[in-house]
Subunit: 113 residues, 2 copies
DNA sequence: CCAATAGTCAAGTTTAAACTTAACTATGAT
DNA sequence: ATCATAGTTAAGTTTAAACTTGACTATTGG
């Protein structure tokens, strides 16, 4: 029987997702967008950060598919991309199932002795 | 109508979870434990890191309820704590639902015009 | 057309957090 | 009893990544 590939972590999709949400400011940005779309300017103001700094966070959130953006005139409109959260939910589900099936397999072995 | 509290992020539970998995080495440690429990030594070796360094990661993973540990003799046995993944799954589910309900509410407003 | 606004890019600085060292404790093996 | 192994603690170093600056482009409003 082939060894199950648990290191889903190797997937760049998952890497990008956890890296993006691993930072406090980016979590703030993401949650702020949950309330509705905003421009880079609108996101930057309450965080006390430069437009450049905010733009860098947005790129990382976009790469993680947590945020989508669209240039409208001279503004960039940012909104939630549901794909990231879906990926996260699937990831958590899959690994909880993997873990519990292994755990119960282990219990059987222990109980047999 | 009171403003819905979307900043679940303020919850230290969620903060700890994303902070913990935001780091590559800690993701490796976590996935490694998915295959079965290991000592601090066993975890440190393949990562080319000191025992001290590994111990620091383990504390962070424990705080996030992703890992549990138990001191057995002179060794510390580390294993997956399913609570962290459960929290993550609930988080992703909740926010996907929140987002999609807001999104469809927005669609209705737009369509009405 | 001109000034203000919104954002971007390349390059550098700053800071948080990852990591190490060295000294120590506790357990296990011979 | 003593030596090796496993881990811990406090303190310091290193590094990755967050952040800024200054110069630039593109859009918009007067």
């Amino acid at each position: 029987m082939a060894k199950l590939e648990t290191n889903i972590n190797a997937q760049p999709e998952i890497e990008a997702l956890f890296f993006a949400l691993g930072e406090k400011q980016r979590r703030h940005i993401f949650f702020s967008l949950m309330d509705g779309e905003k421009t880079v300017k609108q996101l930057a103001e309450p965080l006390n950060i430069t437009l450049t700094g905010l733009g860098q966070h947005i790129k990382i959130l976009e790469a993680a598919k947590l945020v989508r953006t669209e240039k409208v005139g001279r503004e960039r409109i940012c909104s939630v991309n549901p794909e990231g959260l879906a990926t996260m939910e699937n990831f958590a589900k899959l690994h909880r199932n993997l873990w519990s099936s292994r755990f119960s397999a282990l219990r059987k072995i222990v109980e047999a002795h």
